[in-house]
């Protein structure tokens, strides 16, 4: 009988109930919150559901040394986490993004490409702020990339510059990407007047398949020669796009933008979520990162909108003016931020469709954030 009681007591020590801490419960509640928001509000469900469930998995209290935790060498979760830690997943996601992105909006109106550059100010604004509050330059760079509004890029860069902060940075980036409509709309309205919101932009010209085929090669050569450190992201992005546009690699393109990106998204979301173990995540630094992340989105949106307003000053022909409501789309949250431009634009004129125009700076933002990540990596990596 004593042996049975002793065995039960021993077993009790291995259960979650015996090892639970309030921090674990907080993180599990946050995970459930993510899943709830994703299901009810449908905010980035493909990311928030895996991340939310990953948070629950990562915060199940357990007895250490059973070789099952994400930070225990050789465990299943640890093996899957290597894709995040070593930076394999983000380039694979970029391959899929390239294979599903239509750059014709950008090719047809190349002038909109600079909006994608202006919105990257969010990255560097957050970098300056992070330096100001006492983060080291490498940590500040990793935090700043949240302003690129690009989850894979944020994971890629933080895994290289500040692996300890990666969980907080990744969750912050994806959370704010899900909140793009909530964050960007009031800024866009505050910075524009009614006249500006009603600007109708000329219909984009038709883009030929040949132009679309040339784009990834020229785009890659240009950006990669300037910032070779962005090679994993830029290479995969433009390679994926070439698969799509070449017309002769349809099966590869379909795999890249379908099953491959689905698998990698599932794994990256789950493992990033699971990496947010309470003892590593619930710290003052994480709160600061969340605050700086929010500010970076605000700065990015503000700079994008103001940049368009600035350009309009120099455009004399009223028919060629740019609607500042597409300025927010310079961040690379594709296509959410472009969708915000469309929705806000139609609030003031139901016939003013801005989606096609906003996709130009939106995809330029993807390139811009990858370039910015490359620059930060070369300076701080």
């Amino acid at each position: 009988m004593d042996q049975i009681i002793s065995s039960l007591e021993q077993f009790w020590q291995f259960t979650g109930f015996a090892n639970v801490a309030w921090q674990n419960l907080v993180m599990i509640a946050i995970g459930i919150g993510f899943i709830t928001v994703a299901i009810i509000k449908e905010w980035e469900p493909l990311l928030l559901v895996p991340i939310g469930f990953g948070m629950i998995i990562g915060n199940i209290p357990m007895f250490p040394g059973l070789n099952i935790g994400i930070y225990e060498n050789g465990s299943v979760l640890n093996t899957l986490y290597q894709g995040v830690k070593m930076g394999w997943y983000p380039p694979l996601i970029f391959l899929g993004i390239g294979a599903m992105t239509d750059f014709s909006a950008l090719i047809s109106q190349p002038r909109l490409i600079l909006i994608g550059a202006a919105a990257q100010m969010g990255i560097f604004g957050a970098y300056l702020l992070a330096m100001h509050v006492g983060f080291l330059p490498n940590e500040a760079g990793a935090i700043g990339i949240i302003g690129g509004a690009d989850g894979p890029t944020a994971i890629f860069l933080s895994s290289k510059l500040a692996p300890d902060l990666m969980g907080a940075i990744a969750v912050s980036a994806y959370s704010y990407m899900a909140l793009v409509p909530v964050i960007q709309r009031p800024i866009m309205l505050a910075l524009t007047n009614k006249k500006e919101r009603l600007i109708k932009m000329p219909t984009p010209r038709q883009v030929s398949p040949k132009e679309k085929m040339i784009f990834p090669i020229v785009g890659f050569l240009t950006t990669a020669f300037i910032v070779p450190s962005g090679l994993p992201l830029l290479g995969m992005l433009f390679f994926g796009n070439l698969l799509k546009e070449s017309g002769v690699t349809r099966r590869l393109a379909e795999t890249a933008r379908g099953p491959l990106i689905d698998v990698v998204t599932t794994l990256i979301g789950l493992t990033v979520g699971a990496s947010t173990q309470a003892d590593k995540f619930l710290t003052g630094k994480s709160l600061l990162i969340f605050g700086l992340g929010l500010l970076s989105f605000v700065i990015a949106t503000t700079c994008g909108v103001l940049f368009v307003k600035g350009i309009n000053v120099f455009i004399k022909n009223p028919a060629k003016k740019i609607n500042p409501l597409i300025g927010n789309a310079g961040v690379s949250a594709v296509p959410d931020s472009a969708r915000v431009s469309e929705v806000v634009g139609r609030e003031f004129d139901k016939n003013n469709h801005l989606l096609m125009h906003a996709m130009g700076p939106n995809v330029a933002g993807v390139i811009g954030s990858a370039v910015a990540a490359g620059i930060l990596l070369s300076f701080l990596g």
């Binding site: 090719i107 190349p110 560097f124 970098y127 330059p137 010209r205 020229v218 017309g247």
Partner: protein, 310 residues
């Protein structure tokens, strides 16, 4: 056709060859050598003070030095073999490995069959026993307890040059790493507030995208005019009054019938409307078709059966 294939295969073979060369023994250099130790010199595993030779892997990949040779005699390049079977002979990227010049290679993997003499040259020889990978001249006037070392001379830290002056020995330590700091630490000192990095980075981002803008504007300038010209007659032909082509009408009808969701029908209708009336849709790379079923050689079992000859 055959020529083309041979050309492609040759090209791939060349590329593979280049890739293989990037992380092989040719990336190793003799980074430092000491001929005569003084009383502060390091002790080997037997408690003796010997001269030593330090090898640096300059590449970013792991290199196995096992099978290579060390020698101080150009007429006998195979003088001291580095054992091939020892897994400890792997040199990690940008790391060094030390060999004691005890004069008795039988003492272990990291011992050579010769002693480093002042005025001699030490050679690192490839595993083919013929190719000299690197050499280092030990000056005849090198003071006891001092070493001769090579230091990086380029930003990539691949090219190295021998120091003119005798050096304080740094065995098992990178010659340029005594005071080295991480890039982030250097940046924290140079740019404590982050303004310089911000200005440079923003400029580079703008420059990159401005170049793209310039390239696309100039590359695709004529194309846009051409496409506009092409689009013009199409618009006329597909005005509202023009009768719809039978095949197009059939395609629309079939597509709408097969699709169940209202969103899909609306999207298809809108796309066709824009394409036929306003020509705003792109010229797509593929022909869009609506197919029933999803059979392929992978799914259909009958296609996987072996076709027996009759």
């Amino acid at each position: 056709m055959m020529k083309k294939r041979i050309l492609i295969i040759s090209l791939l073979a060349c590329l593979c060859g280049l890739g293989a060369k990037a992380q092989n023994v040719s990336d190793l250099i003799i980074s430092e050598a000491l001929a005569v130790p003084d009383s502060t010199g390091i002790l080997d595993d037997y408690g003796a003070r010997n001269g030593w030779i330090e090898i640096l892997n300059t590449s970013q990949g792991t290199v196995t030095i096992g099978g290579c040779f060390l020698t101080d005699d150009k007429s006998n390049l195979k003088k001291s073999l580095i054992p091939k079977s020892d897994s400890r002979t792997q040199i990690l990227p940008r790391q060094v490995m030390l060999f004691y010049a005890s004069g008795n290679g039988a003492q272990g993997t990291f011992y050579t069959d010769f002693k480093v003499q002042k005025g001699s040259t030490v050679y690192l020889v490839s595993n083919d026993g013929r190719t000299i990978i690197d050499s280092l001249l030990v000056p005849a006037n090198l003071p006891d307890g001092m070493s001769v070392a090579k230091f990086p001379v380029d930003a990539k830290q691949i090219k190295h040059a021998t120091s003119a002056e005798p050096c304080v020995p740094t065995p098992r330590i990178l010659n340029d790493s005594v005071d080295s700091k991480t890039k982030a630490q250097q940046m924290a000192e140079k740019d404590p507030h982050g303004f310089i990095l911000t200005i440079v980075s923003v400029s580079v981002v703008f420059l990159s995208l401005a170049i793209l803008w310039f390239l696309f504007t100039s590359l695709f300038k004529d194309k846009s005019k051409q496409t506009k010209k092409e689009a013009a007659p199409k618009k006329k032909a597909s005005s509202k009054d023009a009768p719809m082509d039978d095949a197009t009408a059939l395609a629309i009808a079939l597509a709408l019938e097969m699709e169940q969701g209202g969103d899909d029908i609306a999207a298809i209708a809108m796309a066709l409307h824009l394409h036929l009336t306003q020509s705003v849709h792109d010229a797509e790379s593929f022909v869009v078709t609506f197919q029933q079923g999803n059979s392929s050689a992978w799914r259909n079992k009958q296609l996987n059966f072996r076709q027996l000859p009759r």
